[in-house]
Symmetry: D2
Subunit: 409 residues, 4 copies
């Protein structure tokens, strides 16, 4: 009897989550809320949380509301009473955990970016494909697809409302490492994080723009920069917050091995041309993901710091009345919003994860494949890889390798 | 042994909530989240929910996560194992339930407006005062005080940053009954709701502006209007959503007995002059609470539809650099925000309730009186009363009765 | 032979302007530009400027581009070769100059407010009516009617696009006298200015809202305040800029005899209810005229500090696409804009005067009556008068006297 | 006797302008206004306008206020009574006219881009250098430097307020040729215009960002696109407006030989990295020049459609009060603004030209070299050239040739 059919019998899907830092907290909020906010065909249960530090993970379990905890992700992956494995660790362990979980017949939700390298991502795609044949589902956690305004963009574009897409203009700007004394946390180390702004936040705008436009990036020309090349070693760090060691002596320092910022031009397979920029040095921009899409008939603009709003310029209106229409995406007929409050009562960042869990649970219960699939996530990885290669080779134009052929191989 | 000391022993406060519609859902979300988001001296437990319809309240209990349910609020109020009674019913039953709960030694959180009349509010204040002598806490649920940007406004004003307050400009605009076919729900009936836009949303801007300025309204000149005087009777209604009956015949209609909009001028006891407007006919404004405070040294602007932002004009800056500074209220040193996400990751409407529950739980655990007290809420009621009397008497200037003298009496 | 027919013969209208301060400079810019920007049936010629101080008015004539100057307004009014008298003096001399000019057969453009009192305004209306019988035109200079976005509001409302008007919400906020050391310029003296914020900027929002809605204010309830009651006497002042005397001794001070702020509620004859506020103490608001009109079908919002934009919420759009549409009013099919630059190239404050002169010249040349007429301006004066009386009498509801009956009398 | 000393004697500078379309109209407005708005050491006189079509240029002279007209630019350049030659023609004639004017001892103001090719620009620089030795001034008309908010950006950056510059982010977006039926006007023909969006609007953001940052672009990686490759031939065209021929037959069409959009990444010589985008296909963006500069200490944002505003994020403020400060650039202590209206009374697009003329006249009268010089403009041309070469060669990284070495050579 497959895990899936069991969970459908008793209408409960038991989740085991690996990791309890920033993403772990966000996912926990979502797992706790999803059954309440939505009428789901199966109920998610926060069964087991895993982390390396016993006392910390015990505290996280109590605080975040998990039934039990463990320090051994292999135990979590193999336990019979776990249906879903939710991977919230840094990128360097995604592949190992996800592949083991899939092999153990668990549905897998893996945080983005899918992996730290294309090779790892390919291995994960292969594992997912094999598991899929037995009804096991896998999904990568690009949560911004589930922001209602973003889902609405996709609907408007898919229905032809802005016509043929000409321009994509996407930035994801933050400023949390502008201070040169900010310590060398794992996100600034290539072996842990794979890359810097590029994979952390650049991956989001790659996925988001491809998702809403329905077009794939085919080639890029890229430039990356590390403005602060050496930083104090952290005394301890977790999530996005950290402090540098404060002994009597000057703190030991280490090399920053990832990019602070990544910029690239791109062509998309539907004929659009694009600019992308990811930076952690754009002072004042806290979570500044901003996307503008210009089509032959209209324009859409989204800003994550005002995620309840969508701007739509519609050239179908009379000339004298055309303008940027600020739509407050809080109506019951907007994507996901019937679950929440009356119009004008806004939602926050964390709701995107709740929507993600809803879609994942529904796909599992309904026996369909959720999106973004591991193949979709591999394709993002291939774009990241092309960007990194272009930047390494003096901004040379670099084609993005096709993801699907890899799967076929 | 008082309820309070018992709850402090076992560190659990058992909540019984009456009502399960819009406010019931919002409060449930907050009770479910407050223990996770904050490190509280006592843990809130969602023990019991009460509603009149057995099957509906059973469904609500399951859906919203309450341990048990009942259809008898008197049972809830009197049960030994309930520490907090949370009153989320329409205004016409606030007084009866709250007074009974206080008499039974329960801490009471009562939704705003406190009551449908000044007399009821006075009785509640008297009951709260009597209970307070035995360590029982009471609070009225003006949740917008707990929006971080609003709390920040109060801090800036209290620390003198905008100087002597000259002007208060407050509107709360909605549009959900613009359609004349929208049915005659309880919020449009004076016997249930007490008043219309005035008590429902006008009460919020009265409390909010008095809270942030630290000034009380002393007199008003008011004008109210009911634009649509007759509406179809509802087939069934709950919360803010409703549909009119759709039999083969024209639906029966009824008289709208509350205001659609209320406007008033006011003077505050610190010398400020003010305009207030509450309306359900401001098309396009969904939850449009907007407040601007002009002081002798600066200005603050808040808009609930963008509740993560606060605008601050500071005349202490050099002339050529003065401007409206849009502060994104998502930093860890902003009120309540250390509990949530990294900077720039916004929160939503529901978080104001989570903050409210935190403050209430902390006050109970710490043995302090939470605000807004029932006296504070009575004072808002007295303003509402003055507004209604002014409007009834041809917009004549009407002094607001003092709330404290009433308590003393 | 009437002045009018003469001017049509030689296609030139010779303007004599009285006053050369702020409004004088603005009108000069407009007279200098109007022939270039528009194809007019007659050419305006800047013939003569008048001021009391010989050397200053000579300098103004040279600087602003007037052919000649005089210190005697009576000479200007009576000269045969003047077709238009443009009255830009403080309000206390409007009536005398305008009536004399009309009697002398000159077309008269008079700055707002029309006069400092209703009696003066009535006399001016009578003079205008008499002159009109002989083809002499008169107009009051409410220049904001000529802001393209404002003209567009009127068109949209007149064509029914926002339905039945429910709410008018108008503020005109400035902050130039917040500093208590700002001197006692003429605008702060009742005998010169008639009133303070009320007549200076309140008059604008009264006229503007009545113009765009097509409704008249029928009654008001008002409250005024003078926050700073005594100020240093000015050493010298002109326009809006001034400095207080700076002798070795403390400057002599004088009483502020006008309102710093005026607030009022109103009813309009089409059923709308309204709030109005004019203040010179709203720190940070430099020229903050903001108007919002809510109708049964839509909302319009205008902000003078962003005068090239108009926000339009149109409930005719599908629910999920309704929003506040920011229309950039720079298209050739927007009012007045064909005269200017390509789309997106914005215009400024002064253009409103150029448009005003265009409309006035066209009316004269075409033999039609321009608007706002002196009757329209008297009606604004009657609203100002009702506001002042209401404020004087404890905010009592005060009906606005009808203007037309006065004319008939 | 040099022209310059003559003009200083009689305090009049006689201007001859070549071209009377869009830029001709804008420059005429500025020449007409500059003497009035500013107290200049010499008075500009609109002496002579030149255009190829006799009747049209005669009409333009009358309409725009020029003393005389001619159809022969050589006559204009050589006339003794002309001090300044203002070149407003399409780019293909800039070099010939400007060089002839400089040779004839005239001060030259040349519209941007300086030329259609680097070779022409070099020849112009050489001519300007030679003329400079005799006190003849030359300037290129990048008018957006004279927008007060832009000048203010430069001041803030120069005084270190935003620290070390990390990022430049510049777009100039328009949409006037989105319609494939828009005809093939001169701006879409390479032989007339040199390039498309790149030289027309891309040149503006190159100059503006280099000006405000004080850094030069050293290398680029670029991508250009022509979305609509064939268009109807125009029946007649002028400025930005045009109509396609409307004979009974389908209109003849022609090849679009310029770019519709140009995107590029860049490095600046102070260490900043940058993205640039110029497009005429960004629907809804009418004159959408938007620039954001992130430094180590702050951020500045400018948007030409709201040119009276500047956003400044200043990390020197306390953390909890940091935000994007919207400064209304209308105070007397803002650049150029003392000439205009009281605070909050905004200016428009055309004022940038008036400021340009002021700076040019002052430089001539004071005997100093105005900026941007022809060398500055050549450097912009070299960036444009590098962009075009990069795009032609598959987005290869392309170094910008140094301009100064060219001058030295």
């Amino acid at each position: 009897m497959s895990t899936d059919s069991r969970s459908l019998q008793d209408r409960e899907l038991r989740v085991g989550m690996v990791g309890y830092a920033f993403m772990g907290a966000a996912h926990s909020t979502a797992w706790r809320t999803v059954n309440v906010a939505f009428d789901l065909p199966a109920r998610a249960r926060m069964a087991l949380i895993c982390g390396r530090d016993e006392s910390k993970v015990a505290g996280a379990a109590a605080k975040l509301g998990w039934d039990a905890h463990t320090t051994d992700w292999r135990e979590l992956v193999e336990r019979d009473d776990i249906d879903i494995v939710d991977v919230c660790t840094p990128g360097d362990s995604h592949a190992e955990i996800a592949i083991a979980a899939l092999a153990a017949g668990k549905h897998v939700l893996c945080e983005k970016p899918l992996a730290n390298s294309v090779d790892e991502a390919r291995a994960m795609v292969a594992a997912a494909a094999k598991a899929q044949a037995e009804g096991i589902r896998s999904m990568c956690g690009f949560n911004y697809r589930r922001v209602p305004a973003v889902a609405m963009m996709r609907q408007l574009i898919a229905s032809g409302r802005i016509g043929v897409i000409r321009h994509v203009r996407a930035v994801y700007l933050q400023d949390w490492i502008v201070d040169p004394q900010f310590p060398l946390v794992w996100r600034l180390q290539k072996d842990k994080a794979g890359s810097g702004a590029l994979g952390d936040i650049g991956a989001h705008i790659i996925d988001l723009t491809q998702y809403v436009t329905g077009q794939k990036i085919t080639g890029v020309s890229a430039l990356t920069e590390t403005f602060v090349k050496e930083r104090p070693l952290p005394s301890e760090s977790s999530g996005l917050a950290a402090s540098s060691g404060n002994g009597a002596d000057a703190p030991a320092t280490g090399q920053v091995t990832v990019d602070d910022a990544a910029l690239f031009l791109a062509r998309l397979d539907g004929g659009a041309i694009a600019t992308y920029e990811a930076s952690r040095f754009a002072i004042g921009r806290k979570n500044g993901l901003r996307v503008e899409i210009n089509g032959s008939l209209g324009t859409l603009v989204f800003d994550l710091e005002r995620l309840n709003e969508l701007e739509f310029y519609d050239s179908a209106a009379p000339t004298s009345e055309q303008g940027f229409n600020r739509i407050l995406i809080t109506e019951a007929d907007h994507p996901y919003m019937a679950a929440w409050w009356p119009p004008g009562h806004i939602i926050g960042y964390e709701h995107s994860f709740t929507h993600e869990m809803r879609d994942f649970v529904e796909a599992i219960a309904n026996g369909t494949d959720p999106a973004p699939s591991f193949v979709d996530a591999l394709q993002v990885q291939l774009v990241l890889d092309a960007v990194a290669r272009s930047a390494d080779q003096g901004t040379v134009w670099t084609e993005v390798e096709p993801a699907l052929a890899e799967v076929a191989a």
